[in-house]
């Protein structure tokens, strides 16, 4: 039995360095590089440590090249870490033991494992045999996945005839037939329309609830994070920038609140209350320093004929942008100081 107290995923000081070939643009440089290859070490992941509890859903946030996918690949056993420790369900992923591979899955939004020319059902059947899924369990799981993902009309058509979203649903089903306990999902909603994104999201949440599976998810869509992940890990240049509640991330990195007021008179001067972000008929949006929010709202309500007032956190995209901007500024500051 899996010890419920020990983490499902344990990562300590995880690092991954790549050495990349480099050359200047142009034909001369191309010829030169034949004789002497210039290589440079690039840190993809530079010392990450975190734990994930069984049944938890955590989201990895970070810009392109931040090291999210590299981290997931190391956790699933596709990449050897340069240094550091990883334990997933007590296994060392890079050994790729069969017992380990049967308990995890990796879904990459831009890769596919389903046979292109055959119906998804045939690929499912192949997975049943490869993962040694008992027939009863297979039937149960398949029925469940068909119901949750609404696959009934899709699985008998050749995969090449499916739309991107339909194919993704089948990919997800194929990846879950063996009922993995840990799911690594790398951009599972990439390129999908809003409805399909919502569908996949709802499915992940439901799967997690029903099976208590641990989910590690990367995504560019904040909606994915907001809907699924109570906890997020923000990675920037391979470093851990933040690990905690999504709400706390907003609280920590955004020094502002957004105050939206509705008022009958459009002529009122609002300049004394905060930075005016938007103003349209009967409605104004103000950005107010977080510490002054209470005082400003009190003044607004006392001074003006306001019919409605709401205080919101800024949109999470904005917060993330600020996180990265802040980090960039700090690192340039540090370089300048040296």
């Amino acid at each position: 039995m899996q010890d419920t107290l020990s983490p499902a995923v344990r990562v300590r000081e995880l690092r991954k360095l790549y050495s990349v070939h480099e050359r200047e643009a142009g034909a001369l440089a191309a010829v030169k590089s034949l004789a002497r290859r210039q290589t440079r070490e690039v840190t993809a992941v530079g010392g990450l440590s975190f734990d994930v509890a069984p049944g938890e859903i955590i989201g990895f946030l970070g810009s392109n090249g931040a090291g999210k996918t590299t981290t997931l690949k190391m956790l699933s056993g596709l990449l050897y870490p340069t240094s550091g420790e990883i334990g997933v369900l007590g296994h060392t992923p890079s050994r790729r033991e069969r017992a380990f591979l049967r308990r995890i899955t990796l879904v990459m939004g831009n890769r596919n494992q389903l046979g292109w020319d055959i119906p998804a059902l045939d690929s499912f059947e192949l997975n049943r045999v490869i993962y040694r899924i008992p027939p009863d369990q297979y039937k149960r799981t398949l029925d469940e996945l068909i119901e949750l993902l609404d696959l009934d009309a899709l699985i008998r058509k050749p995969v090449r005839n499916l739309s991107l979203g339909e194919r993704m649903k089948c990919e997800v089903a194929a990846a879950l037939l063996h009922q993995p306990q840990v799911l690594f999902l790398d951009e599972p909603t990439i390129g999908l329309d809003v409805t399909m994104q919502r569908r996949i999201r709802a499915f992940i949440a439901e799967y997690n609830r029903r099976h208590g599976a641990t989910v590690l998810l990367t995504s560019h869509y904040m909606a994915d994070m907001a809907a699924l992940c109570k906890r997020v890990v923000v990675i920037h240049h391979g470093q851990l920038l933040f690990d905690g509640d999504l709400a706390a991330l907003v609280g920590r990195f955004s020094p502002h609140k957004t105050v939206i007021i509705e008022l009958a008179d459009d002529g009122v001067d609002l300049r004394g209350y905060g930075e005016i972000v938007a103003r349209e008929e009967g409605r104004a949006t103000l950005r107010v320093p977080k510490g002054e929010t209470a005082a400003v709202t009190a003044r607004l309500l006392a001074d003006l004929p306001i019919s409605d007032l709401t205080v919101e956190d800024p949109p999470i995209e904005e917060v993330i942008e600020q996180v990265f901007a802040q980090e960039a500024a700090e690192s340039t500051g540090a370089t300048a100081a040296v």
Binding site: Y18, L78, Y80, D117, D122, R132, P158
Partner: protein, 267 residues
């Protein structure tokens, strides 16, 4: 073991279903399989006929038999894995295979056998038809036909393992085209696909016997033609068994190092 059989069975079904969807492409591949040895056959037959009926002990009828048996043996032992691997690694399709709880080679063996099973029902009648047309002459002893079965199986295993191992050079360089091309040119001569090895200069014959090429194609062909003594047959089977051991060891070692490299530099 049962699992492995079930995996092969499931893979057969999938591959056969896939292949049958592309009947036009199957027909073209089949045409290539038949055409290449037929061209050599016609060339050598013409040479034999103009050279007084025989070249180096091969009559026109012998050449016909040789190239038709070669066609079948070559079909049953060849693989396209070296081309597949380059594509696989470039397109990032290798990673999912690595995450399955089974060695990726099983899928490739199953695919290979399935394709051959699809083609064989058309290839055999085609060979028979050509044999009649060109008056192919061969009469192996029953024991030779019996020995042909393990010889063919060993030839397939050695050739598949060797080519699969060479294909993993894609782990080091994603452009494996050059390696492939060299291998195919060498194998064209050394496995007797252009001409029977008997007719080639001694250095080539020796190279073919030292390298696996003689044992992966030419030996089973000679055996089926009835050109070998029982002693030569046993010696050949022993050489094949030896190469099987060597190719298995190479396969395991290179795979182990290659996959570490793949996981090291970026999957």
């Amino acid at each position: 073991m049962n699992t492995l059989l079930a995996v092969y069975h499931a893979n057969f079904r999938v591959t056969i279903a896939t292949q049958l969807q592309y009947r036009a492409s199957l027909a073209i591949w089949l045409l290539g399989t038949v055409l290449e040895p037929t061209i050599y056959l016609v060339v050598w037959r013409t040479i034999a006929q103009s050279g007084g009926g025989a070249v180096g002990g091969y009559s026109a009828a012998d050449f016909a038999a040789y190239f038709l048996i070669l066609m079948i043996v070559n079909h049953l032992t060849f693989s396209w894995i070296m081309w597949e691997y380059e594509y696989r690694i470039r397109q990032g399709q290798f990673s999912p295979l690595l995450l399955r709880p089974i060695h990726p080679i099983h899928k490739d063996i199953a695919d290979n056998i399935a394709y051959k099973l699809v083609i064989l029902p058309v290839l055999l009648p085609a060979a028979a038809l050509l044999a009649i047309t060109f008056g192919a002459d061969f009469n192996p002893a029953p024991w030779a036909l019996l020995a042909f079965v393990p010889a063919l199986l060993l030839a397939f295993l050695v050739r598949f393992l060797t080519e699969w191992t060479l294909a993993t050079s894609a782990f080091w360089t994603t452009r494996t085209g050059a390696v492939n091309q060299m291998y195919f040119v060498v194998s064209l001569f050394l496995s007797g696909q252009v001409a029977p090895l008997d007719l080639l200069p001694a250095p080539i014959r020796i190279a073919a016997a030292i390298l696996p090429f003689r044992w992966t194609v030419y030996f089973p062909v000679e055996l089926a033609l009835g050109r070998l003594t029982p002693q030569e047959t046993l010696l050949g089977l022993a050489a094949q068994a030896g190469w099987l051991v060597v190719s298995l060891l190479l396969f395991r070692t290179v795979w182990h190092i290659g996959v570490q490299r793949y996981s090291g530099v970026g999957a």
